[in-house]
């Protein structure tokens, strides 16, 4: 699985992207956030308020109960501010 972080989430976590095997007990985006939060203090700070984080899987916005597969590209970021 490839996971990307953008904007202040990227800054807090300290990496822009990473790849790993999806652990077998991680079924949803919500599960993944919980698992990432436990990886270190940067992750914990980044995901401290998950309600302000948006998730995208394979370039589509998804709700946190979305089911993940190991081949997915997942992205986490704050609300967008383009235009």
């Amino acid at each position: 699985m490839k996971v990307l972080y953008f904007a202040w989430l990227r800054q807090r976590i300290g990496v822009a992207e990473e790849e790993f095997e999806l652990p077998g007990d991680i079924a949803t985006v919500d599960d993944l956030i919980g698992w990432l939060t436990a990886k270190g203090p940067g992750y914990a700070k980044g995901f401290a308020e998950p309600q302000v984080i948006r998730a995208a899987v394979n370039f589509e916005y998804v709700p946190f109960d979305h089911q993940l597969s190991n081949a997915d590209e997942v992205a986490f970021f704050p609300p967008v501010t383009g235009g």
Binding site: F59, F77, V80, G82
Partner: protein
């Protein structure tokens, strides 16, 4: 057409290309977004030094193309264009160009307005502002969500 690029764009050249040879076009509405020199930081005005635009390559192009397709389905457009820049920009620089060409002026106005509203809420861009107070990420505005949501109330269509 969608372009996501670091370099600046020439509005006249882009509009000329958009309308070239298509004499069914009666009107072209365009929006150019510029970097302002004053921003709000902690509820005070602050002079902006520069703005850095980060985006999600791949998803940006996909979302912009989807928004453009929706506009084309909803209004009778002859041509449309979205150009969005990323990278470091200074006050007065161009950020975004959205242009819609149609036989009918109101269709062009509405489609361009729609594209800007949805681009603001759907396209994965993030702005980092540099002022004398330091760097700060721009927060999303509830008013942008409201602006986009108003398009979900579709007008009556006699043909449906």
């Amino acid at each position: 057409m969608i372009k996501v690029q670091q370099e600046n764009f020439d509005v006249a050249a882009e509009l000329a290309t958009l309308t070239a040879g298509n004499h069914a076009i009666g009107g072209v509405v365009s929006f150019v977004g510029l970097v302002r020199d004053m921003v709000r930081v902690d509820d005070r005005d602050a002079a902006l030094r520069a703005m850095s635009l980060e985006h999600y390559p791949g998803m940006t192009e996909k979302k912009l193309a989807e928004i453009e397709a929706k506009a084309t389905e909803r209004w009778p457009l002859e041509a449309s264009l979205i150009i969005h820049r990323y990278g470091r920009l200074e006050p007065g620089e161009q950020i975004v160009l959205v242009a819609c060409a149609s036989a009918h002026r109101q269709a062009a106005f509405d489609a361009c307005n729609y594209l800007m509203d949805w681009l603001k809420t759907e396209a994965p861009f993030w702005k980092l502002e540099e002022t004398e107070a330091g760097e700060a990420w721009v927060e999303s505005r509830a008013s942008d969500d409201v602006a986009a949501a108003r398009w979900q109330i579709k007008p009556d269509r006699a043909a449906e």
